[in-house]
């Protein structure tokens, strides 16, 4: 129990208030600055010389590509000419995906011309877990797994708690790192996104977007599709491009008189276009005729795609010299913004369907499966229109006119759902999420029903301890839901660098807790988290209980010293936030003040100085109740500042509280009750001790006296009050 002096505290209180008054605006300003500077230039860190250090002789790094930030890698091969080994690049140039700390991981990646990883290594990262947490060796071992894997495989990180029995797909599973599942997932996404970009641009492998997860065509059911169905179900889609549409596209600089054909009859459609996805056998047979279709399909591998394209009008499939079967030069196919390479197919006979007029120009395009074309997703037929200013000095320009197509979904078997990103996390973590939700639910019930629950102080104490045990063992050690000042750093970093807050969804337990904490800050203040949901807080409370059971002396911190010490946590918070804008690693170093990573995330399995510090904090709590929370915790400081938005003074008080009764104040383990009786919500941990007293007619002094028909009288001189305070420890003495 603490014995507070009343005198000589004003200066300390004022300093505390001034500090808090300045910190809050500082925090707000900081987050505004962070918020405004979304996406500043994120650029690679290494130049050619620095890259060369990673690839010593006989390798050497060539000149950067003119268009992409990739460097060719060669091997000296005297006496023959140098061998081209592959491309090297930094992932941050191509895929700046925010990591757990809100900043992108930067990887150095080398892939060979076949799209196989030569190697991958980490240039820089801000993942807190690998900084003095899980050993960085495990990160090295993780990235080493890429060597020899190919981009044509669907590389995934296997869940540490995976049930096994993975489906035999194109997927290749690499081992994750336990305790760092979120970080390695982000690293995998970074490596694949960056490498696929390079592969598409430089290797022309025609890689699809989501390999192994595309829907597949249903088997031919032999059904006959009539011309009516072809039209009504849009299996042979038609689009009309009007001269007016084209005019709009070109604008006033190339008006209609730049188009000789259009001038004759500007009202007539410029071009009619038809397209049909023939690889669906039912459609193909209906359009081409059975014998013709069967002959045509002999030219296609089962994985290739056949697309019929037909045109009628001024903008035809081809220039005037068009021949049946030729590769169109005015028409191309795109999907997801990427051009799809098409070849022509040789077709013996024209389409038989009556839906197509007889005077169309038509061709069948062959799209190789390597092109990455996914027929189940929408694609575009792009018509290129040329216009020429008719003058003595003709200038031509061309515009692309995309027309959307989509093969009806009824012809596809949906892909087996392979969850990615946060959905995968959700499906893996639902037990932990459920526990968190139920814990939050019980807490809400507890706090809103304190009156009823506190009727029996003994059972309330038991409920509280049980709840804290679940917080420590369930939320903390099992679900890894220890909120930390690092989370705030992550948000600041994300705002500063990528503006991508998607990483929050990768850790749903923490995100849920944060959402609840932010809401509870507004309603009840910071104590809801600190007193109930902080696993390390719970651990300290158990340490304190152990201390009392062992009859350890409880140290009494003099009031002035206590007040001054309480400022320390704000100074630590200011240092961390300030440093976050200068250097993230340094900020994370300071954030090691929190023993959370040591105690909760890593179960004390860490380098000895950290373990020593964490244990010391717990031992401290056995002597000074929750000393860390009161004096050092930067997260608590941040929540105290944010908690100033709290709208309710919900902890019940009487007019007698403080004047003269000091019982609750004396009983408060957190020193969160002012001598004048008011609750200092930003120091209150909502342990409910005072609420229990308030509702206990046998304990609350005012109640006891009221029952005896007496009231407490004021004022009491300062000296006397001190004396009375000591007496107030046992209500019997007062009565």
């Amino acid at each position: 129990m603490r014995n507070w002096h009343l005198g000589g505290t004003r200066a300390a209180t004022m300093a505390c208030d001034v500090l808090r008054a300045t910190m809050l605006p500082l925090l707000v300003v900081a987050s505004i600055i962070g918020g405004c500077s979304f996406n500043p230039l994120i650029a690679g860190e290494l130049d050619k010389a620095a890259l060369s250090k990673h690839f010593p002789e006989p390798y050497y790094v060539g000149e950067r590509d003119a268009a992409l930030p990739v460097w060719p890698l060669f091997r000296h091969n005297i006496p023959q000419s140098d061998d081209f080994i592959g491309y090297i690049f930094e992932s941050i140039d191509l895929a700046p995906i925010a990591g757990y700390a809100g900043k992108p991981v930067n990887m150095l990646i080398a892939i060979n011309p076949e799209g196989t990883f030569i190697g991958a290594s980490v240039i820089s990262h801000f993942e807190p877990i690998f900084n003095h947490g899980v050993s960085e060796d495990s990160l090295l071992r993780f990235v080493e797994q890429y060597r020899g894997l190919g981009l044509k495989q669907n590389i995934k990180v296997s869940a540490s708690n995976s049930s096994g029995g993975q489906q035999a797909t194109n997927s290749k599973f690499i081992d994750g790192v336990s305790k760092a599942t979120v970080s390695v997932r982000i690293i995998n996404e970074t490596v694949l996104t960056a490498s696929l970009k390079v592969a598409r641009a430089k290797l022309k492998l025609g890689l699809g977007q989501d390999m192994g997860s595309a829907p597949t065509l249903k088997r031919d059911n032999g059904e006959t599709v009539t011309d009516e169905i072809l039209t009504s179900k849009n299996h042979l889609s038609k689009a009309v491009v009007n001269t007016a549409d084209i005019d709009k596209l070109f604008g006033p600089s190339f008006p209609i008189d730049a188009d000789v054909g259009a001038q004759f009859d500007p009202k007539a459609p410029a071009t009619e276009l038809w397209a049909s996805y023939l690889s669906v056998p039912e459609i193909g047979r209906a359009v081409m005729g059975k014998a013709n279709y069967d002959a045509l399909m002999k030219e296609f591998r089962p994985t290739d795609h056949a697309i019929l394209v037909a045109t009628r009008g001024r903008y035809s499939l081809q220039s005037p010299a068009h021949r049946v079967g030729g590769v169109p030069d005015l028409l191309s196919i795109t999907q997801s913004g990427l051009a799809i390479n098409v070849n022509m197919a040789f077709v013996r006979y024209p389409p038989v369907t009556q839906v197509l007029p007889k005077d169309v120009t038509w061709t069948v395009l062959k799209v190789l499966s390597e092109s990455g074309f996914d027929p189940s997703r929408p694609w575009q037929l792009v018509l290129t229109v040329n216009r020429q200013k008719s003058s003595s000095f003709p200038i031509r320009t061309s515009k692309d006119f995309p027309i959307d197509y989509r093969v009806p979904a009824e012809f596809f078997i949906p892909a087996p759902v392979e969850l990615t990103g946060w959905q995968a996390v959700l499906s893996e973590q639902w037990p932990k999420i459920s526990l968190t939700l139920s814990q939050l639910f019980f807490l809400t019930v507890l706090i809103t029903n304190t009156r009823r629950l506190s009727a029996n102080p003994k059972s309330f104490e038991a409920i509280r301890l049980a709840f804290l045990a679940v917080t420590l063992f369930g939320i903390g050690w099992w679900a890894q839901g220890q909120l930390s000042i690092n989370n705030i750093l992550g948000v600041i970093n994300a705002a500063k660098s990528t503006g991508d807050f998607g990483f929050l969804l990768l850790d749903p337990v923490s995100t849920l807790l944060w959402v609840f904490v932010l809401i509870s800050l507004v309603i009840w203040g910071r104590g809801t988290f600190c007193g109930w949901l902080c696993p390390f807080g719970a651990l300290q409370e158990f340490a304190a209980i152990a201390g009392r059971r062992l009859k350890l002396p409880q140290l009494q911190v003099p009031y002035a010293v206590d007040r001054a010490l309480r400022l320390t946590k704000y100074i630590i918070l200011a240092a961390i936030i300030g440093m976050a804008f200068v250097s993230t690693p340094a900020a994370e170093k300071i954030a090691e003040v929190e023993p959370f990573k040591t105690a909760i995330t890593l179960d004390f399995d860490r380098a000895w100085p950290y373990v020593l510090y964490g244990v010391a904090i717990l031992v401290l709590s056995a002597f000074v109740f929750k000393g860390f929370c009161l004096y050092l915790c930067p997260l608590g400081a941040a929540l105290a500042l944010l908690g100033r938005v709290r709208v309710f003074n919900w902890i019940p008080r009487r007019k007698e509280c403080g004047t003269p009764c000091q019982l609750c104040k004396a009983r408060c383990s957190y020193g969160a009750i002012e001598p004048k009786g008011t609750i200092k919500y930003d120091e209150c941990f909502q342990c409910m001790d005072c609420v229990v007293i308030y509702h206990d007619p046998k304990t609350c002094v005012a109640e006891v006296l009221a029952r005896k028909g007496r009231t407490l009288k004021m004022p009491v001189p300062a000296g006397a009050q001190r004396k009375e305070l000591r007496q107030a420890k046992t209500p019997e003495m007062v009565t």
Binding site: S81, F84, P113, E299, R323, N343, R396
Partner: protein, 339 residues
């Protein structure tokens, strides 16, 4: 006619010519052996351009001067690539092929087309930069795993005609819609010549450039000349000859570089008149002072056949040629610097 290396897989190093000189490593070892020789610094720039590995190696006493010169030379490689690459959709040539006309073209492209047309004129159209549509027909058919049909070949051939390019510094116009150019038959030789000139302007005397075509200046070291090996068109890794040019550009074209049929009868070099790959010649190496001339002539001579080619080479001052036929015979003009 000829269309060289029109789209060789972007990541394959060129095997057409193999540098055997041992160039720079040899130079390092030997330089110190000569007391009076200034200590030569050696530097290199390598990268991927023209769909192949390009490496520029040079030596000079002053390292800073050497590196500045090589940087300038590499910028020229990039400039030519951005003007004339068919691999890059954003290049000036790709834009010209898409649009049929190009206003305010880059100077490099104008000059390249002009030089390509010079070669076309000199070879009476055996070299023709307008074979690109025909090349596309063959390449697409090959990619689809079939042979090109007569109809396709005929329609693409109708778009061939080097006289139908209208080029000036203000604009380039292709006369007929659907026409397209390839400068792959001259661009590498052109770039090599430009780089040699830039190195020389910067005072660099010794250089060995491999852009797919070979350009040499000065010596490998005080005693020995640069040596280039000429690949055997039928036995990869073997050589039919070793050449030690004193200067200029050595360009080689062969039927083995991009093969569309296993008997080497269909490949990337096309005769603009017969619309087929030429039947007689397996490879041609041409040494000339002009890079685009060496490069373009090597292509043209693939098409012209050995007899006419040798006659042409003899007629042209400063041009030497080595021809290997499909039957394995070798013909050579006097000036060809075989060792």
């Amino acid at each position: 006619m000829t269309q060289r290396e029109a789209q060789h897989e972007a990541w394959l190093p060129s095997r057409r010519q193999v540098l055997i000189a041992g160039g720079l490593v040899g130079a390092v070892a030997n330089v110190g052996a000569y007391l009076n020789a200034p200590k030569l610094k050696i530097a290199q720039r390598s990268g991927i351009a023209f769909g192949t590995t390009v490496s520029l190696k040079a030596s000079h006493a002053d390292a800073i001067q050497l590196n500045n010169a090589l940087d300038a030379a590499w910028r020229e490689i990039v400039r030519v690539e951005q003007a004339a690459s068919l691999f890059r959709p954003e290049s000036a040539l790709s834009t010209l092929n898409r649009m049929g006309a190009l206003v305010d073209p880059p100077e490099t492209l104008v000059q390249l087309i002009a030089e390509a047309l010079d070669v076309a004129r000199l070879t009476c159209g055996a070299f023709d930069p307008t074979v690109q549509p025909l090349w596309r027909v063959y390449a697409n058919a090959h990619a689809a795993g079939r042979t090109a049909t007569d109809a396709e070949i005929a329609s693409a051939s109708a778009l061939i005609g080097w006289q139908d390019i209208d080029v000036s510094s203000k604009r380039i116009q292709l006369a007929r819609p659907g026409m397209a150019l390839t400068l792959n038959g001259v661009a590498q030789g052109f770039a090599t010549e430009r780089c040699l000139a830039i190195l020389k302007e910067n005072g660099i005397e010794n250089a060995f450039l491999n852009t797919g075509e070979i350009g040499v200046a000065g010596k490998r070291d005080d005693r020995s000349l640069w040596t280039a090996a000429i690949a055997d068109p039928r036995h990869p890794g073997d050589y039919v000859a070793f050449a030690q040019p004193l200067s200029g550009i050595l360009a080689t074209s062969g039927d083995y570089a991009t093969v569309w049929s296993s008997d080497f009868s269909h490949h990337h070099i096309l005769d603009p008149k017969t619309h087929r790959s030429p039947p007689l010649t397996a490879s041609v190496s041409v040494l000339a002072q002009s890079g685009s001339m060496a490069d373009g002539l090597a292509t043209a001579m693939m098409v012209m056949g050995p007899e006419k080619s040798l006659a042409l080479a003899r007629r042209l001052p400063g041009v030497a040629a080595l021809i290997v036929t499909k039957a394995g015979e070798q013909f050579m003009t006097h000036g060809f610097p075989v060792t």
